[in-house]
Assembly symmetry: C2
Homo-oligomer: 344 residues x 2
């Protein structure tokens, strides 16, 4: 089959790889219908050292079950399914707590002989625990929004949930990328009435307003902090959703957090150490967030997608076929595209 392999920074190729097949009785093989390029895919695209072996890419996808191991109950060939971006047994103690990202028998796509999602098909380990059936057909207009349950919308939701967003909290969202916009939508869905979006790309912040942002702050750094404070009586917001991943963004996050507030971060940190020293202690902020256990959220969010209450798939503003994936990486890196949908 054809699949996406990254050989180093800027070097993404679509090439022939072995067809996936059931190897363990807990596996399924899924033919990919839709996949996404994730903001986190861009970090290796910008920095990965050259590699002869390459690295299989993609962890956001939905598709059709083609084959099943003997121990996979609850699924049938032909089912349309979405995967969370990490696979998990969904039965261990961590999974039971809703932390499937720490599953004792889980793992990541594209590693350890497991396919990536940016290809024609994927062997999915722990298929019973991992895959969630979608009650739609292959031609559904909802596929783009359903695909966001694989990662980006669940990541925004995780950010809002771990931050404790509620109707009683004001919220700042830092970042107008697909995750930041998803966080806006999630905060709105959880009832937040004041949602300040920090971002400077008008097309993106316009979508942010459609998703529920009440104010847009284009200023960055200390200027941005002062702007948020001006909009919140000097105090900052109760909750801050940090969806960028740079140290500057985290610094801004603490700067706009109300005393006793919560900063949740879901961007992949591009730093080893962060600004959490003495200055923060009197103000009692909490820092939380991390990789989203998407599997914990899919069933809860699915009805709102199916009935059109939310349209998280609007973050996709470009679609490519498999051959177009390398150009999709380029377009997202150049900020030509917000997020790229792959029609496999």
């Amino acid at each position: 089959m054809r699949a996406t392999v990254m050989y180093g920074a800027g070097d993404v190729r679509v090439e022939d790889v072995p067809d996936p097949r059931v190897q363990e009785p807990t596996d399924a093989v899924v033919r990919v219908l839709r996949a996404g390029i994730c903001g986190s895919d861009l970090w290796p695209y910008q920095s990965m050292p050259a590699s002869e072996q390459g690295r299989r890419m993609g962890h956001e996808f939905l598709g059709v079950v083609e084959d099943l191991g003997a121990e996979v109950s609850g699924l049938n060939r032909g089912d349309l399914v979405v995967t969370p971006f990490v696979w998990a047994d969904n039965t261990c103690d961590f999974c039971a707590e809703g932390l499937q990202t720490s599953c004792r028998h889980g793992g990541r796509y594209g590693f350890d002989d497991v396919d990536g999602g940016q290809g024609e098909a994927v062997r999915v380990p722990q298929a019973k625990g991992t895959l969630v059936r979608l009650p739609v057909g292959e031609d559904s207009a909802l596929l783009a929004s359903l695909l966001t349950l694989s990662d980006v919308f669940c990541t925004g939701h995780h950010c809002a949930v771990t931050a404790g967003v509620s109707p009683r909290t004001s919220v700042t969202v830092i970042g107008d990328g697909a995750v930041g916009l998803s966080a806006v939508l999630a905060a709105k869905r959880l009832g937040a009435e004041q949602i300040l979006l920090m971002g400077r790309h008008t097309q993106r912040t316009d979508l942010g307003r459609r998703f529920g942002a009440t104010d847009v702050i284009a200023e960055r750094g200390e200027e941005g902090v002062q702007r948020v404070r001006a909009l919140t009586g000097g105090d900052g917001t109760h909750r801050v959703l940090e969806c960028v991943g740079t140290k500057q963004a985290l610094q801004t996050a603490f700067g706009v957090a109300r005393d006793g507030g919560v900063v949740s971060r879901v961007g992949v940190p591009q730093y080893d150490e962060g600004p959490i020293g003495f200055d923060m202690v009197m103000r009692n902020p909490t820092l939380t967030g991390g990789a989203a256990p998407a599997r914990a959220y899919i069933e809860e969010l699915l009805p709102d997608v199916l009935d059109g209450t939310i349209e998280p798939g609007r973050v996709f503003d470009r679609a490519v076929n498999l051959a177009g994936v390398p150009d999709g990486y380029r377009a997202m890196t150049d900020r030509e595209a917000l997020k790229v949908l792959i029609r496999a």
Copy 2:
């Protein structure tokens, strides 16, 4: 009156200062009966640049109301009272949320023409909101334990509360200083059944065991992390109470935290940046804590002290009079004394 003034690292003097008097109608003057030397007093003792003016010291004290401003209701001359280590109006929105450390009209002892607690008397601003009456006499045997409500036990309690310690959580406490031991006692009081205390001073960890520690880990750094993991089936504990304040202690805290767990820190951070980068993201830890709003906890904890259920005053293992305060600083710095009680 006599009071403690620090003129630089290692230079603590007890000398004559102006007698406090009511300046604002919201003030009270409190004659100090008992005061404490705090671990946080030792940081300037080790690093304060020489100063001609000096700095008034002390923020943990209890005593007797000597005088009251016209607007202070609910208190009478002769009342025995304890103060939280920051004063607060206890009516603003932050106070109403239990975050008196961020009070809109609050402040710190020893700054802005407010006395420190390590002296004969203190002008207490916002006395009505700040001071809590204690139903005991000046000769009560409970004074040492009641004094811990001013800071150290409330700080340990804040650490445990913000971490979310409960009967269902395992706990690691990092640090066998007075705050760490208080955190052990607080965790035990909140129902934790497994409490691992990381510390290497046997006298102190023995008190930790009396306070409720189930295991003591003397190893530090990576070795200490491995030891905690060995005691917890490889997983680490749900809650980690970081009561030291160094970067190494914070690193250890993240190392011993179970995935999805909470690290709360109440030691004064001796670092500007901390290890919160990529490695942590897949594990979803939360970092919380900060300066304890002791005022929010005093009424809740007071009954357990009064009826002897808990004896947090056991952290005081040396008593001095005012003249002995400089030697008290030295003794704590040299780790001769765990915590010094001042009989003013």
